[in-house]
């Protein structure tokens, strides 16, 4: 039943605005793939084109062995879940779920048992006679999901399905959707701007920006091996610091980081560092540089620190209190950066070009015990 979704060179403009620009990716059969990006990145438009609700200007869409590019939404037989539920407000929960079966002329007894099955599945068995406006947001979205699943679609498309819900319900529904997907195994494409949601639910993430694909990879690689500065900055909290490459290393007013690959000597570069990858010590280490602690906020078991480098740049660190060694505001200490991702600021440098085959960032290591990872992430 489950088929893979394959999208090739998808392009769509609205007037002069190019909403989707040459987007290609594959969502593997039976898995959840997330389309992650800020608002206006074109992710919803991609989803709507796959559903047939928008017509692409160029490119092709395949589901399983079938080409869908010029089919009507009715012919595609996909399940679509809208951010604002889009339930039929004049129909009961039952009638909503039954709708897709009715219009496809499913025999009545079959439709009945299928609706019962789905209402049980989404935990809304006793609510069949209610109208959508008598349900909470989370319940409505579960009805919408049951309605989309009723005709047994090959593929489930979810457009910011938790976007209209409050944080608590969102968490709960996310876990619930995860369990449901494990049970059903229907190929799902999830559009979201919430990186946590994407990393938690999806087995593959497509990061989009300004209508283009920035990176397609497993969640752990999106986080640990960002292909572009945008991905490094968008996924997870990150510090961005700038420096110049000297003697094969990035210098922040101290013998900081070495082994900069792909970035030319003398080039300006930017490095992205996660707050928990900033290590502090009282004494200077082999590749550390001096910083002063400007602010320390104790959150119980971790502290957030604001550090100023000798050249004036600021880094934020987040460290467990037990590793802090009593470092306080006003202290001058030595910082050591773990897993920094360096990108050249020089436009001509291949590392900064966001081409499809451009090399990934040079991953820097300041401690010898870390394996040297030369991340070569290219987009598929």
């Amino acid at each position: 039943m489950a088929g893979a979704i394959k999208v090739q060179g998808l392009t769509k403009s609205f007037g002069d605005f190019r909403a989707v620009d040459d987007v290609s990716f594959e969502a593997r059969a039976g898995e959840i793939t997330a389309l992650l990006g800020p608002s206006g990145s074109g992710k919803s438009t991609v989803l709507r084109m796959i559903a047939g609700l928008e017509q692409p200007d160029a490119g092709s869409i395949w589901v399983g062995e079938e080409e869908h590019t010029s089919k009507t939404p009715q012919e595609r037989r996909l399940g679509f879940v809208f951010q604002h539920y889009a339930l039929f407000r004049h129909m009961t929960v039952r009638q909503n779920v039954e709708f897709g079966l009715k219009v496809r002329k499913t025999p009545r007894p079959d439709a009945r048992s299928r609706v019962d099955e789905l209402l049980d599945l989404v935990g809304l068995g006793p609510f069949g006679g209610r109208y959508p406006d008598q349900l909470s947001g989370g319940q409505r979205q579960r009805v919408a999901l049951a309605r989309a699943l009723a005709p047994r679609p090959q593929v489930l498309l979810l457009d910011e399905p938790f976007g209209a819900l409050d944080a608590h319900v969102r968490q709960e529904l996310r876990r619930w959707l995860d369990a449901l997907h494990r049970e059903l195994g229907v190929t799902s494409l999830l559009v979201t701007h919430d990186q946590e949601e994407a990393l938690e639910l999806a087995s593959a993430v497509v990061v989009m920006r300004r209508g283009r694909v920035e990176q397609t990879a497993a969640p752990v690689d999106i986080y640990n091996r960002p292909a572009t500065p945008f991905v490094a900055g968008f996924v997870g909290a990150s510090n961005m610091v700038r420096g110049t490459v000297e003697n094969g290393g990035l210098n922040f007013g101290g013998p900081a980081v070495t082994a900069v690959e792909h970035v030319a000597e003398g080039a300006d570069a930017q490095a992205y560092i996660r707050p928990h990858d900033v290590l502090l010590a009282r004494t200077a280490g082999e590749r550390s540089f001096p910083v002063s602690v400007e602010r320390r906020t104790n959150l119980g078991w971790v502290s957030k620190l604001q550090l100023r480098m000798t050249d004036g740049q600021v880094i934020h660190a987040e460290l467990p209190n037990e590793e802090l060694d009593g470092i306080e505001e006003g202290d001058r200490v030595h910082a050591n950066l773990r897993n920094a991702k360096v990108f050249s600021l020089d436009a001509g440098d291949p590392a900064s070009a966001r081409g499809d085959n451009g090399p990934g960032p040079a991953v820097l290591h300041t401690s010898d015990e870390n394996d040297v990872l030369a991340a070569q992430i290219s987009q598929s």
Partner: protein
């Protein structure tokens, strides 16, 4: 710690019922103003709406039901009522079908000149019906642009049913459209798109999703245009020629009765028309209430 807090708290639960409730003067004044406004609104409705209605009922029934029966059974009265309802029926059907189509276009599509089209829809409200009648005469009357076309086919337009229907349709165009457009805009496209992704054809989507969602707006629009159609005088007067027993509608008949000092009969016909409109509005209101209660 907790004991000191408890001691500090004054024993309020005993104190508050002992002191009599006193509203500040400001609250009293606000309540008075609110009641006054309600009274004014009710008086307005009573005097301007129910007053005239009561007058008609009183004068129509003054001489007893016998006169009412006698008047209603007159052939020219029956024909006039029949003609009025026939025109209303055709008008409502045409305006419902085309009104929904126009409303869909105005609410959903983008095209150059949309604002102009939207403004044009209101034109019949701005133009006096008498002028509408004159326009029809200019187009279809002797020497009019369209007269040769219909004359050649032997179709009598002016001084006959076609022109009466035509001007009535023109005059009641805005009602369905004006009621349905905002409902469609509020509804948005998502429910329809959801229906498509579930496999519903465009026709299924319209009849199962769009139409049920706009039904109350549509019903009100239909009621308003029906009321407007049945009450039309000016335009119909000009295009029909008010030929007794032929092109005389109920409203034209009322005019004639008054001209001929038969006020009594005029009131009776007027009451018949008013009763129809009131029954229609009450019917829609109760139907709507019943359905909404079912839905909750």
């Amino acid at each position: 710690m907790s004991t000191t807090q408890a001691r500090e708290r004054p024993p309020q639960p005993h104190a508050s019922p002992a002191t009599p409730r006193k509203f500040p003067r400001r609250v009293h004044r606000e309540r008075l103003v609110a009641r006054l406004l309600v009274a004014v609104a009710l008086a307005y409705v009573l005097v301007l709406l129910l007053g005239p209605l009561a007058g008609i009922v009183y004068y129509a029934l003054k001489s007893g039901l016998g006169v009412v029966g006698q008047t209603i059974s007159q052939p020219d009265v029956q024909h006039a009522l029949y003609l009025s309802f026939l025109i209303m029926l055709i008008t409502v059907i045409v305006n419902t079908v085309f009104g929904v189509m126009v409303a869909l276009v105005l609410a959903r599509d983008r095209f150059p000149g949309k604002h102009l089209a939207s403004a044009l829809v209101d034109l019949p409200l701005a133009v006096s019906p008498v002028i509408v009648g004159l326009m029809a005469v200019l187009l279809f009357g002797r020497g009019g642009w369209f007269e040769p076309f219909f004359a050649a086919r032997g179709i009598q337009v002016i001084f006959a049913l076609p022109s009466m229907v035509l001007v009535t349709i023109f005059i009641s165009i805005p009602f369905v459209i004006r009621e349905v457009v905002p409902v469609l805009q509020e509804l948005g496209l998502e429910e329809e798109q959801a229906a498509w992704t579930l496999g519903a054809s465009k026709a299924q989507t319209f009849f199962r999703v769009t139409l049920p969602n706009i039904r109350w707006g549509l019903l009100y629009g239909i009621a308003l245009s029906a009321a407007r159609a049945i009450g039309e005088v000016g335009a119909v007067l000009i295009v029909s020629g008010a030929i007794e027993g032929k092109t005389e509608t109920a409203t034209l008949l009322i005019l004639r009765f008054f001209d001929q000092f038969q006020e009594q009969q005029g009131y009776i016909v007027a009451l018949t028309l008013a009763a129809f409109s009131i029954v229609m509005l009450i019917g829609i209101e109760t139907f709507k209430r019943k359905r909404t209660r079912e839905a909750h």
